[in-house]
């Protein structure tokens, strides 16, 4: 993609635009260059968009989700994912609809089987009035992105679980917990990592040796058993918010070590640089040298490493909650939901219970791609 390749032997105007492009590169700011490089990484851009959508959905959960996440309904147990249709016995309908449902309960096994009743069509409307909610405890409303009219139930795009709860609704609400735990966890890790890694790298000497020993020690304990042990030690009767915070701290307990290493390595490398020496000689205070001169030069690299560390947090929460050691109902997270799919019995009856896992994988892969793209983009020596 180097613009130089396009010059020579080309029509004059194209060579001219190539030259202009080259000039643009010379005068571009660092951020501009990174953005151009990042943009070339198609998967990273697509993933970044997906991540943004996922977070938007998480923020607007009450609006996007058609129902209330904890509302159970014994009339709709284990409904399989419903198909949205445009075409039925009554011909083409521009408004999407779902068929009615009839249930059959086996007399011996009590297994429920659902069949679609093609004689009834329920049109799906957008911005319908449904279950009332309070967004973030502030704005009262009952408008949902889509649903059936008159507050009727039955869309269930991703099916329902053993309590008749709508899976899509729960996945949307679960994203709020599962995705935010990554961000909060990484924020804590980052604070710890920057301060401890910074002190270690900037001062060196005895402090450095001590910090490095501690980091090596923490990293030497296998992470899953350690996470399990620590979260098992949390009292069982903690209120949900405290538990959420506790789990986040436990995940960060290992997470900070990796970031601290990045920060330390950067400080060690930068400490010897001429511009740092120049700043010090000009009488800049230690704090100013660090914040104004050193931090900006490794910030982008740190952001890339941070992005790559988020999936670990999401996976950690999912695994712990899946085992029952992390978050617990009534809190809804993807891991908590996957707990329903722990036994073959349930999965065999309702394979759609595995769907929260798909969202875990989607978000983890997206973060990985974005992080990969960022890492390439911020590396000035990358091809």
């Amino acid at each position: 993609m180097s613009p130089r390749k396009t010059t020579g032997g080309m029509p004059r105007d194209r060579a001219l635009t190539a030259e202009m492009a080259e000039e643009r590169i010379y005068v571009a700011s660092q951020a501009q260059l990174m953005w151009w490089k990042f943009r070339r990484h198609r998967m990273a851009v697509a993933s970044a968009i997906l991540v943004i959508i996922l977070y938007l959905v998480a923020i607007l959960a009450e609006f996007v989700a058609p129902y209330d996440p904890n509302e159970t309904d014994t009339k709709f147990l284990f409904v399989p994912p419903r198909a949205i249709r445009f075409w039925g016995p009554k011909g083409l309908s521009l408004r999407p609809f779902v068929y009615g449902l009839t249930v059959h309960v086996d007399d011996e096994t009590y297994r429920t089987t659902w069949t679609e009743d093609t004689s009834v069509q329920y049109p799906i409307h957008f911005l319908v009035h449904g279950a009332p909610y309070k967004t973030w405890g502030l704005i009262k409303s009952d408008i949902h992105l889509f649903g059936l009219q008159d507050g009727r139930k039955g869309v269930f795009l991703l099916g329902t679980d053993k309590l008749g709860q709508d899976l899509l609704t729960r996945i949307v609400f679960g994203s709020r917990i599962s995705l935010s735990i990554g961000l909060v966890g990484i924020a804590i890790s980052l604070m710890l990592g920057i301060s401890i890694g910074g002190v270690s790298g900037f001062y060196g000497g005895f402090v450095d040796i001590l910090v490095q020993r501690v980091i090596e020690f923490i990293r030497s304990i296998p992470d899953i058993p350690l996470w399990m042990a620590l979260s098992a030690a949390l009292p069982a009767d903690l209120p949900p918010l405290t538990r959420y915070f506790g789990i986040t701290v436990i995940l960060s307990f290992i997470g900070w070590t990796g970031l601290a290493r990045v920060v330390r390595g950067s400080f060690l490398a930068l400490r010897e640089q001429d511009f740092v020496l120049a700043a010090t000689l000009s009488g800049a205070s230690e704090w100013r040298v660090i914040m104004r001169h050193m931090v900006p030069s490794f910030m982008s690299y740190l952001i890339a490493s941070t992005t790559l560390a988020i999936p670990g947090m999401i996976l950690g929460e999912t695994s712990l909650s899946f085992l029952g050691l992390g978050l617990r109902p009534p809190v809804v997270s993807w891991g908590v939901m996957l707990r329903d799919a722990q036994h073959l019995r349930f999965v065999a009856q309702a394979p759609w219970l595995l769907l929260p896992g798909l969202f875990v994988v989607l978000s983890v892969l997206s973060f990985n791609f974005v992080g990969d793209g960022l890492r390439d983009a911020v590396d000035p020596y990358a091809r």
Partner: protein, 327 residues
């Protein structure tokens, strides 16, 4: 070299002490001591416990002593191989853990061999044929595989196998074989159950290793010494194996020690999902029941194994790469 080994050995002692201290803290973390949990367990079973019995047990386990005395007592017993009693199983902890080691190590070792068998050749191949179609395929698969939690794949595989063949892969044996004496049919049945775990741990674990191997190889392939060797006319295959592969394997050697605790802990969550009686589910049960002697000893063993593994890795690296000895 001897000095290097000595220095490393001396470093082991403080690390092990810190590990024991942290493990002890974790054992102490749940509210109340382990007798409170024990008592509530007994009461739940409907047995009445008098205060005298509790006090007696308290003295017997040294729980009336100050905390640091308890720590040294526990450490002293641990060093002698007495890891305390699991009240969940009412058996000595050591007996419980060692009883499961064989199975766990067998699964993990098989997975480890599989990982290396896939990861190293594929990593080398991908690096040598960078940006070729197979390289893209392998790296994409590896990238995706590193992002998917293993237990999720276990769940999906379990379901797929069930819905295709009606075969339940959970557990080690089918119901008919659990108490049957060993026979060819039982071995076959065992293999039918176990391959899922080995496949998941081996094949998916290989993904991360393969990426490392590829990255290392790419770093080395452009180095001047490789060009020199090529200029001298060394055949391409010989050149690869003799120079860059050897250097690229260094990080593998430095992590081989880390797989030592992995051999014992296996992949805990995958084992739980697949219902395999390895050491992982034992730890899980212990943690759930707050059977802290069992859980703590387990963590302690894992950490000690990690430290020993790292130590062995360091020595091996020192042997392989003389530069490291002088750092």
């Amino acid at each position: 070299m001897i000095q290097y080994i000595l220095r490393r050995t001396l470093l082991l002692i403080p690390t092990l002490l810190v590990i024991s201290l942290v493990t002890f803290i974790i054992i102490q973390l749940p509210p109340g001591d382990f007798l409170t949990a024990y008592m509530s367990n007994l009461r739940a079973q409907g047995e009445s416990v008098t205060q005298d019995v509790i006090d007696g047990l308290r003295v017997r386990y040294g729980l009336d002593q100050p905390i640091y005395v308890q720590y040294f007592r526990w450490l002293w017993h641990f060093v002698q191989g007495d890891m305390g009693v699991s009240f969940l199983w009412n058996k000595p902890v050591g007996e419980l853990i060692w009883g499961l080691v064989g199975m766990t190590v067998a699964i993990s070792a098989a997975a480890l061999v599989l990982q290396w068998m896939f990861a190293i050749p594929l990593g080398i191949f991908s690096a040598v044929r960078q940006y070729s179609i197979p390289d893209y395929i392998f790296t994409t698969i590896a990238f995706i595989a590193t992002g998917i939690p293993h237990f999720l794949i276990a769940l999906v595989l379990m379901w797929v196998i069930w819905s295709l063949t009606g075969f339940n892969v959970t557990g080690m044996f089918s119901r008919d074989f659990v108490n049957a004496p060993w026979s060819w049919a039982k071995v076959l049945d065992f293999l039918k159950h176990i391959w899922v775990a080995v496949f998941i741990l081996g094949f998916l674990g290989a993904a991360g290793l393969m990426r490392t191997m590829r990255a290392n190889m790419l770093d080395e392939l452009n180095k001047p010494y490789v060009q020199t060797a090529r200029a001298k006319g060394v055949s391409e295959r010989r050149l690869l194996i003799k120079y860059p592969v050897r250097v690229a394997l260094n990080p593998f050697v430095s992590t081989v020690g880390w797989s030592l605790p992995g051999l014992i802990s296996g992949n805990i969550i995958t084992s739980i999902v697949l219902g395999l009686p390895t050491a992982g589910p034992l730890l899980f049960d212990a943690l759930m029941a707050q059977d802290m002697y069992l859980a703590g000893s387990f963590l302690m063993i894992l950490s000690v194994l990690t430290v020993i593994g790292t130590f062995l890795s360091d020595i091996l690296l020192g042997v392989l790469d003389p530069r490291i000895r002088f750092e």
